[in-house]
């Protein structure tokens, strides 16, 4: 088989040369040892590192990360601010010759990256400092005893509401899902929906919340299958199904859930959104807003908020792995002032080193503090073994149930089967 492949490649290369197409086609992307974007670091000159960020939504963030990179003394760091679909772009880039040495990825590298040997073990970068970090995040970044990324800042989602509107409707801040439905219905008017969680009706962003708020985990304790295929979960979905059909759930707004504009514009009375939007909400409403976790669903339920941390990874095929690791340690372990600046000055994020939380003014009091407390008490992070195919199957079934009104039990059974085989593949 090996011969076949090489044969194919030479054939292709030869033809390309004949056709005078491969002007500089000598760089064959299949040889993984070929140069990365990190230029030749010969002798004593400073190494060059390519670092990638996804495009943050808050003004000033781009300038901030450029500033941090420029002030690093031991290497020249070129920051790429990646517009577009970052989650796809990074794994694709790791297949090619123009890949980042250092890159952030949501909740660390994917399992495929780890198992494919595309990223390096970062345990020694954290070293003894590991105890300073939020332990739930560290746990999420750990696979087979090794830590695969250094967490940057923690992001979370939560429910925004306005006390003035609740008062007018005569309802209390909801702590159960049925109370949420009632509150949404009570606040709905001709021009304003009651609750908004995205232009897909909330299916995409709330799917995992239904699992956690119903009292379950994504996977079973042995991580051999799904952990939530229970009647209580199906009842929760049926409850949301009914909510979806009512006009109290706003299903289309000027922006999606990650932007607080629908809430600020008065298109919806309550919105599921990101902590990062809190400055916008504060600017619009002053003190007239509050935040809640996603309320408990059903009898076995509990309130829940999701959190995750963009975390710095180092590509294994980088020419300067050690320099890249040193840079990550410098920025996300040692430079605590920059970390506070990054978390607090632009959007609202929670620093991943626990001791820095009090220095962040936006989460020191009021709704910001409530949010930070929720992460500590009611926070859930997606399991590392909750892979892309499982997530896709889950989301499809969720859409079919909520939007198309399909029966939950029969929709989710094949998802369970798919998860079992996928987890077997990963574990085996």
């Amino acid at each position: 088989m090996q011969i076949t492949r090489r044969h194919l490649l030479t054939a292709a290369g030869g033809l390309a040369a004949t056709a005078a197409l491969a002007a500089c086609g000598s760089n064959n992307g299949l040889s993984n040892n070929s140069g990365s974007s990190s230029g030749g670091s010969s002798g004593g000159s400073k190494p060059t590192l390519a670092q990638w960020y996804h495009q943050y939504g808050e003004a000033g963030t781009k300038e901030a990360v450029n500033k941090y990179a420029a002030s690093y003394p031991d290497a020249t760091v070129n920051v790429t601010w990646y517009a577009g679909n970052y989650d796809t772009a990074v794994p694709a880039a790791l297949l090619t010759n123009s890949f980042p040495d250092v890159f952030e990825y949501g909740n660390g590298p994917t399992l495929d990256m780890i198992k494919g040997g595309q990223v390096v073990d970062m345990t020694d970068v954290l070293g003894s400092s590991v105890s300073k970090f939020n332990q739930s995040v560290i746990k999420r970044l750990t696979f087979q005893g090794k830590i695969w990324a250094v967490p940057q800042v923690i992001d979370m989602q939560l429910l925004y509401y306005r006390p003035s509107l609740l008062n007018k409707a005569g309802v209390q801040p909801p702590t159960t899902f049925s109370a949420l439905v009632d509150a949404a219905k009570a606040q709905t008017t001709k021009d304003m929906g009651g609750f908004f969680a995205g232009n897909d009706g909330g299916v995409g962003v709330l799917g995992n919340m239904f699992v956690w708020a119903s009292g379950f985990d994504q996977l079973n304790s042995g991580r051999t299958g799904l952990g939530f295929l229970e009647p209580n979960f199906y009842d929760s979905l049926k409850a949301y199904q009914a909510f979806y059909k009512s006009n109290a759930l706003l299903k289309s707004a000027s922006k999606d859930w990650f932007d607080a504009s629908p809430f600020i514009n008065g298109e919806t009375a309550m919105q599921w959104g990101g902590l990062w939007s809190m400055p916008d909400v504060q600017k619009a409403f002053g003190n007239d807003f509050g935040v809640l976790a996603f309320p408990a669903m059903g009898s076995s339920g509990r309130p829940a908020v999701p959190f995750g941390a963009y975390s710095s990874c180092v590509a294994a095929k980088s020419k300067n792995v050690d320099a890249a690791k040193a840079f990550v340690k410098w920025l996300w372990v040692d430079q605590t002032a920059d970390q506070v600046d990054f978390a607090n000055s632009y959007g609202t994020h929670i620093p991943s080193q626990v001791a820095l939380v009090p220095q962040c003014t936006k989460i020191a009091q009021g709704p910001g503090k409530d949010a930070a407390d929720m992460v500590a008490k009611e926070g859930f992070a997606s399991d590392i073994m909750w892979t892309g195919p499982i997530g896709d199957a889950f989301n499809s079934a969720m859409t079919n149930v909520i939007v198309k009104g399909a029966d939950p039990a029969s929709e989710f059974k094949p998802v369970g089967d798919k998860a079992v085989s996928e987890l077997k593949r990963i574990n085996g």
């Binding site: 495009q55 939504g57 781009k62 517009a83």
Partner: protein, 279 residues
Amino acid sequence: MRAVRGRSARVLVVVRYIVLAVLAVLFLMPFYVIVRNAFASSRLIAAAQWQWLPDQWNLDNITQLFTNSDVEMGASLWHSAVMAVVQTGLTVVVALLAGYALARNTHRAARILSALTIFTLMVPAAVTFIPTFVMTSALGWIDTFRGLIVPGMFSAFATYMFRQSFLGFPKELEEAALIDGANPWRTFWQVVVPNSMGIIGAVGTIIFIGSWNAFLWPMLVTRNGTRTVQVTLSQFMTSQLVNYPELFAGALVAVIPVLLVFLFLQRFLVQGVETTGLR
């Protein structure tokens, strides 16, 4: 009898024009929406009730778009322009040569290649995007102009069109040139090509529009270095930073070049279609 018929015919003509006018308004509506949204404020676009007239008759949205460092509109337009112009030129040359050879030869090799061309016409590049992506990334061409342009250069459609057109090209002209001592290569460029500008214009226009408007392939192979305007707009639309007036200002800017090309070359297109084998 005759008078009645004349009147009903006249009524019919009037009805015909009314129908055409209504349809014309419907067909032009999307262009109006681009302009309306490009010269509107965010507030107007998200307003509870649709408003027909924009509220911001100035270039603010366009200037904001071009200074928005998260969108990089200027660079995207440049990438699209390079892609469309180079791809059109190269595709036309490659297809002209092949189409001519296939039209003038009937031996077995020519027949096989013609069949291959028609087969490729049926299995379009879009269907084989994964194989082509695998090849392009293996060549290390991701996020390069080469990767953006070259894989799409070998158009079975263009070759087929040229072949059909040359089948109807008078051989006498070529034969005269050959007798005068020119070789087939020179004959081709000095006699055949100058007399085929109509079909070249038609195919070129179609290729240019397709190239400027391409989405799937640029989305796969471009990154920050070569992202084209269609990909930029698509990603801007679903990104966290979307601003609708700026988005539509971008649509306006992106649609103008291709509309101009289209309006100028439409004549060739219509003629080309009428004279070649698309029947």
